[in-house]
């Protein structure tokens, strides 16, 4: 298969970015999207510089930087905005699970980083998502010290609650929800964690406080508010439901009433 790739290039956080177009051919349809980018990078390195860019007066931009790691949809590192969709034109996948058979031969594919004021660009398609770590540091945990736990079976959890908690806990922290949301809200990310813990008896004692602190941190870090468009749910690679946002709101209101 052959493609034209329109890729966002940006040297670092300070400099302005721009699109550059590359042609790539001989891609197997069973190749993953990231394998296709690997091949492009091989090509760019071998050429030493990109002729199209050079023609336009651009210095060699070198290989395209992008975040990736496990390549099986679980680490949450990959993060591309492809043809206007977070993780590209397949449902419930991360970019590493996107395969070239989902594209038409000869298509022009636009590849951008996840864009959000809370995710500054580091280089090309790589963004800084440490804001997510900070939100979780504000309360995304149960305060238990190593060694302090009782026997696991003394805490009974109905099967369905454990399953629901697991549905929320499946969040990989990729940031697709933020990149997709017109408000740049991280509500689905926050809700997934709050809800997963609130559904378990162990998580109840801190449930309200957790919701309040995490939402406050989210707002402080420049993420927008939620207006229930459900776009996040549609693009979440793990299909996390906005029902969890409703649960977050309940916990949040409880905390506010208590104040």
């Amino acid at each position: 298969m052959d493609f034209n790739l329109k890729i966002w290039r940006q040297k670092n956080a300070r400099e302005k970015g721009h699109f550059e177009t590359y042609h790539i051919s001989g891609i197997e349809e069973d190749a993953s999207f990231l394998e296709m980018l690997d091949i492009l990078n091989e090509q760019l390195i071998r050429e030493g510089c990109d002729p199209v860019a050079v023609e336009r007066g651009c210095q060699s931009s070198g290989p395209v930087s992008f975040d990736h790691d496990c390549r099986e949809g679980i680490c949450g590192a990959c993060s591309l905005y492809i043809d206007g969709r977070a993780h590209g034109p397949d449902d419930h996948v991360t970019t590493c699970q996107l395969f070239m058979r989902h594209f038409k031969d000869g298509a022009t594919i636009t590849v951008e980083p996840f864009r959000s004021p809370a995710f500054p660009i580091i280089k090309d398609l790589v963004v800084d998502r440490t804001a997510f770590d900070k939100i979780l540091q504000a309360g995304g945990f149960i305060s238990v010290r190593t060694g302090a736990a009782q026997d696991g079976n003394t805490i009974l959890i109905p099967h369905d609650n454990a399953e629901k908690s697991m549905d929320a806990a499946a969040c990989v922290g990729c940031g697709a929800c933020v990149a997709t949301c017109k408000n740049g809200s991280a509500m689905l990310f926050v809700a997934a964690r709050v809800s997963s813990l609130a559904l378990l008896p162990q998580g109840r004692p801190e449930a309200a406080r957790r919701a309040k602190n995490m939402v406050a941190k989210m707002e402080e870090l420049g993420f927008g508010g939620c207006t229930n468009t459900r776009a996040c749910e549609m693009e979440c690679p793990k299909g996390i439901s906005i029902d969890h946002i409703a649960r977050l709101n309940r916990e949040f209101l409880k905390a506010k009433f208590r104040d």
Binding site: K11, D69, R101, D151, L156
Partner: protein
């Protein structure tokens, strides 16, 4: 130098050793802990749990990872589960049985005392994780559910769908986040350790490259903990994450830490087969699938040919024409034999020509029976996400046709040599989780990597490290202007400068692929003296080519993934060579290490206890020098060493 290998195994009865050692270990008073600094490199299950636990104790911890967040460490990808000797199933499980299964599964090449301790603390791990809010699978009564894994006859594996590693890591990461918020732990994401700093024979810090700015930075501490996982990516194609690497451990080796049993690499039987030249990574399908999936190839060659030509579908082959070869060869354990046995059996069938895809390197893993027996709903609950994952990659639904699988490199049992306290041969340097060698011998059982990472991080290291630190609190903080830091940084800088100066025409990945081919061919599932010697020579040649012809684009002081890869590949050449050397030395078949010279008439692995019942610990002797082999004899006081038998 043999005196360097003091294992510090406490004497006394097996079941009392850990209690005894704990009572001997010195403590650090809480007021003094905050004067002590500890560096933890890596944030997988071992690193995150250790850093969090040390932070809770009041130490000053600095934790480093190469990814953008600690949560991305490759432990996240572990699917099937975590073992613990809870005996919740009333199937006569016990600490001793978990210990015994692990020692036996490891083909009697791990330390009795370490493995017993692992089994002993396994139960507390589950409790800890439940308390943290890990949503383990539950039965309808609300009690914890279990499943079974390879190499055992009980159900002791706890799981959270097919995402157990993710959930356990998110638990440890949450504990870590709590400590970051409390100020006891400082997190350094996107930092890569490039050297260990040793002062007066003690580990005192690291040189790390800030992967965003590209600058080299110095960090000092009273002790350093390596939790950077394994070196399976030496094979290029593996189930490891793309960025997983052996470099931190390798730098420790070059600074004097012994490297043990490097040739013990695990080849996992159930991975998605290689599909083409452009592939960069293999995907694991969880071992838990072998609970209900049945592995087979056709009995008739004509069916194989039709399958390859896509003239028939596997589901059209009648029952009587299928060879369920694991059930045939190993009736007692069937599809749940240990990973090394299952992998070799798949290779045997494919070598005999029965591979079921175009490359001839695939077998079937079939769920038709399980779907019939359990119903769609139960199978969906157990394996739903794995079925989805398989479908996404292959465009074939396991609900309709069997999965195709083939063995791939998955885990390395070898690693930095540590004593019972998890301390390396360099005082003040500790290694935990997959990065050390101690618990899995020649083959790791399924659902035991998560157990070991968390055992080391939550319950062993935080206790043992205090013994070393107990007299260090009065010492001044490590001075990062010490000449040792200067020298280490200069050496790293020289490495980087050299890589940029080559300006050749070969990409890092193309050379890494070549290394992978050599490794898989000669240091893979079947190893011979001739092949291993060839591997050593070919790796040397390839390394030469790398230094003559590699191209590392860009600059140092920027985000530069090619430079990261080049630095890691430099180390993989050397790791690969040591793996081959170790494999050549170990002229026996044991666990994942299969020497063709050492097999029974039936083609089963033949161990040689008389000559090889030892840990091979290699000491670095300098650039282009042959490393020196030290042997730590393995003594089995409490169990009888037997030939592994999964047939009866």
């Amino acid at each position: 130098m043999a005196e360097k290998l003091i294992s510090k195994i406490p004497d006394g009865p097996l079941a009392e050793k850990w209690t005894k050692r704990k009572s001997e270990l010195r403590l650090v008073n809480p007021n003094n802990r905050r004067k002590l600094e500890i560096i933890v490199v890596g944030t997988g299950l071992g690193g995150a749990s250790a850093a969090a636990s040390l932070g809770e104790l009041g130490y000053n911890v600095k934790v480093f990872c190469i990814s953008d967040s600690p949560r991305r460490a490759h432990s996240i990808a572990a699917q099937g589960g975590i073992n613990a000797a809870k005996n919740y199933q009333n199937d006569n499980d016990a600490v001793y049985r978990l210990f015994y299964d692990t020692i036996k599964g490891g083909d009697y090449r791990s330390r009795e005392a370490n493995v017993y301790r692992l089994a002993e603390v396994s139960s507390a791990i589950i409790d800890q994780c439940v308390a943290q809010g890990v949503p383990f699978a539950r039965e309808y009564g609300g009690y914890l559910a279990n499943r079974s894994f390879g190499g055992v006859q009980v159900s002791r594996t706890f799981y959270a769908r097919g995402q157990t590693g993710q959930q356990l890591l998110l638990g440890a990461y949450a504990a870590l986040n709590r400590q970051v918020a409390a100020g006891t732990v400082k997190s350094y994401p996107r930092h890569e350790m490039l050297d260990l700093v040793v002062i007066n024979g003690q580990a005192k810090g690291i040189i790390a490259r800030n992967l965003v700015t590209g600058k080299l930075e110095r960090f000092g501490a009273h002790a350093v903990v390596i939790a950077t996982g394994g070196y399976g990516n030496a094979y290029f194609l593996s189930t490891n994450a793309m960025n997983s690497n052996g470099s931190a451990a390798w730098q420790c080796y070059k600074k004097g830490a012994f490297f043990a049993n490097p040739c013990f690499a695990q080849i996992h039987p159930t991975c998605i087969p290689v599909h083409g030249e452009q592939q960069c990574k293999l995907t694991l399908m969880s071992e838990s699938l072998r609970n209900d999936g049945r592995i087979w190839v056709p009995k008739k060659m004509e069916d194989v040919i039709k399958l390859r030509e896509k003239k028939i579908k596997p589901s059209q082959i009648p029952e009587e024409d299928r060879d369920y070869y694991l059930e045939r060869r190993y009736p007692a354990f069937g599809n749940l034999v240990p990973r090394d046995v299952a992998s070799r059996a798949a290779k045997e069938r494919c070598d005999a020509g029965f591979g079921v895809n175009e490359t001839g390197l695939a077998v079937f893993l079939d769920f038709a029976d399980a779907i019939k027996r359990l119903g769609h709903q139960r199978v969906q609950e157990r394996y739903g996400n794995l079925f989805d994952m398989y479908f996404k990659i292959n465009n074939v639904s396991p609900w309709e046709e069997p999965m195709m699988i083939y063995p791939a490199i998955h885990y390395t049992m070898g690693g930095i040599w540590v004593d019972y306290d998890l301390q390396t041969t360099i005082p003040g340097l500790y290694a935990i989780g997959e990065a050390n060698f101690s618990d899995h011998g020649g083959n790791r059982l399924g659902a035991s990597a998560l157990m070991q990472g968390l055992a080391d991080g939550y319950f062993v290291l935080p206790v043992t490290i205090a013994d070393y630190l107990s007299n260090k609190f009065a010492e001044p903080k490590t001075d990062i202007n010490d000449p040792a830091f200067e020298e280490a940084e200069k050496a790293v800088q020289a490495r980087i400068d050299k890589l940029f100066s080559i300006k050749g025409n070969k990409t890092v990945d193309s050379l890494h692929k070549k290394l992978g081919n050599i490794m898989w061919e000669y240091v893979g599932m079947a190893r011979s003296e001739e092949g291993l010697k060839k591997a050593i020579e070919e790796i040397k040649e390839l390394k030469k080519e790398f230094y003559e012809n590699v191209r590392v684009p860009g600059e140092q002081n920027e985000f530069n993934q090619e430079l990261e890869k080049a630095l890691r590949l430099e180390d993989f050449f050397e790791i690969g060579e040591l793996m081959a050397r170790d494999a050549l030395n170990r002229n026996e078949s044991c666990g994942g290490h299969f020497r063709v010279e050492s097999q029974t008439e039936e083609g089963e692995a033949k161990r040689d206890d008389a000559n090889y019942m030892y840990v091979a610990a290699w000491e670095y002797k300098g650039e282009d020098q042959e490393p020196e082999l030290h042997k730590e004899p393995l003594k089995y006081e409490f169990i009888e060493v037997k030939t592994r038998n999964y047939k009866e």
